[in-house]
Symmetry: C2
Subunit: 145 residues, 2 copies
């Protein structure tokens, strides 16, 4: 198959508020007051977790259909912990991002536990956002005017 490209364009309106355009959609990203922001939107790491949930949903439905079991959707809770030291410029041996991301999926289905365990394994393997978080992805930054 041919590669597909996706892109966004972001305007940094303050030190914490970012307005993102993705096609005709907008995301408002900010930090809570406790992290120095104006709390106008979810913060970047919450958006990361949100992206993961949305991707698991799409792939979850595709794989359930392929496996042929009754699947009426799901709820997904995701949490992660990080140490803000390095982010804030303090000496730290900890990584700056989430150290571990925990996903709890509550599917609405009559499928067996065995079927669902196999389903979850395949979903994680085929989910693009899970891949980009679970495995290293090269990021290149260039500067322009």
């Amino acid at each position: 198959m041919k590669n597909m490209n996706f892109s966004i364009s972001a305007t940094c309106e303050s030190a914490t508020r970012t307005v993102v355009k993705a096609r005709n959609f907008q995301m408002i990203i900010d930090e809570p007051a406790a992290l120095g922001g104006s709390n106008n939107g979810a913060n970047p790491v919450e958006y990361l977790l949100g992206a993961l949930s949305g991707c698991l949903n799409v792939v979850g439905h595709i794989v359930a259909k392929e496996m042929g079991f009754d699947f009426k959707g799901m709820k997904i809770d995701i949490e992660g912990g990080l140490n803000p030291a390095k982010f804030l410029g303090q000496p730290s041996d900890e990584r700056t991002g989430f150290q571990h991301i925990k996903v709890k999926i509550r599917p609405n289905t009559t499928a067996s536990e065995e079927t669902l365990n196999e389903w979850a394994k395949v979903v994680e393997e085929r989910c693009p956002v899970s891949d980009n978080i679970g495995n290293a992805t090269p990021i290149s930054i260039s500067l322009g005017k």
Copy 2:
């Protein structure tokens, strides 16, 4: 420093539409019609790129302040390409997520190119979302009722 926890809760309203709650904020994630969705919002991989832009903004401002140069914000364009074969269940040797993410930053500053190159290097190292994409992060999925 103490670890900080972040979490989201997602309701999968259709095979492509996901409504995410992060504290008191909401994200509507969907797929365009070409990917089988109802196009009610940006898609999961666009949210991933958006999260990266928001995080680069916050860290960019912190590092510029530390380095003591004049910094009046920036625009950030991010793009990535992925091959949808594995995601869609077709045989493929390609990874399922973005193969490469390209970030173009246009800072509004009078700082020298040398200063900005150093700044960009430090920003990438300290940005939590860059870390979670650039380096492997363990994801654990559990199933519940």
